[in-house]
């Protein structure tokens, strides 16, 4: 994957497959410590303890449609090649949490890329799931909680043309105001 935002989309896909109804994504740029930190947690079915140590092995997957699982191994590689780290923790039956740290200014760190595209795809394409996205830069943050949006929409579709325009414009402005990663 060439962009961190693509890794995020892909890893969130695991949580969706695990039946999560809420996914929290936090991305923090810590310039002082030269770290870019990504945290993703979900309330899906979790990973049994005995499997946890194997999930970043590319030959480990529980899917039956393909024999190699790539998502987590690609993300952990992407983090480790920048001098960072990758940790995943899960409680079988209640959810999964992962933290990936990247060397912010490391030459091999993939750019964030089109985070707006990733968020739009998740919000519009998975209306049945709630997403909470927090982007932090220093002491500033941008928070998006789809529960607030859905409460306001009272059943109007997230695929509605005007809603798509609204989301795109507001997310774009919010992320731009916060500053780039």
């Amino acid at each position: 994957m060439l962009e961190l935002s693509l890794h995020i989309l892909d890893v969130v896909e695991n949580a969706l497959n695990a039946g999560a109804s809420l996914i929290e994504i936090e991305l923090e740029k810590d310039t002082a410590r030269d770290i870019l930190r990504l945290k993703i947690s979900d309330n899906g079915s979790g990973i049994p303890k005995e499997m946890l140590s194997r999930v970043t092995d590319p030959f480990y997957t529980t899917r039956t449609t393909r024999r190699v699982g790539l998502g987590l191994s690609l993300l952990s590689q992407a983090a480790e090649q920048t001098g960072g780290s990758f940790k995943i923790d899960s409680v079988h039956g209640s959810g999964t949490k992962l933290v990936a740290e990247f060397g912010l200014s490391h030459i091999d760190r993939a750019p964030l890329g089109d985070m707006l595209g990733t968020l739009m795809s998740l919000i519009v394409g998975r209306p049945e799931v709630d997403i909470m996205y927090t982007q932090k830069i220093g002491s500033n943050e941008f928070v998006l909680d789809t529960r607030e949006i859905k409460d306001e929409l009272e059943g109007v579709s997230l695929s509605n043309p005007e809603v798509i325009k609204f989301l795109r414009k507001n997310l774009q402005e919010g992320l731009a105001e916060l500053g780039s990663i």
Binding site: L6, E13, T118, V124, I149, E152, S159, P161, E162, K165
Partner: protein, 127 residues
Amino acid sequence: MPKLKLDDLKKIKEQVLKDTSLRTGGATAKVTVHMGTCGIASGARQVMDALMDEVSQSDRQDIAVTTSGCIGLCSEEPIVTVELLNEEAIRYHFVDPNKMRQIFKRHILEGEVQDEFVMAKGSEHSN
């Protein structure tokens, strides 16, 4: 701190509810972009982006845009499934943003299946 303008959303909702109360409502078209690891790595997000852009430029409120997981046909990604009311489902493969826009305009809006990109129809689906 940047914040979403929820008031604007309220106005949109009120307008939509006013409009749709005059019509029967409900989705008549469902478009699914498959988002497995292989799909994402081969451009499914850009396809989804083009699709959302087309929907937002149309004034059709009866199109549902969704994503779903891997269907195990990695070498043919990105894959998009179009389901129109009372028609058989059509699955397209090797979709890119331009093909997506063509599929949207010709198939979804005008009902003309884009045979050149079709992978499978109706019961031919392996999934």
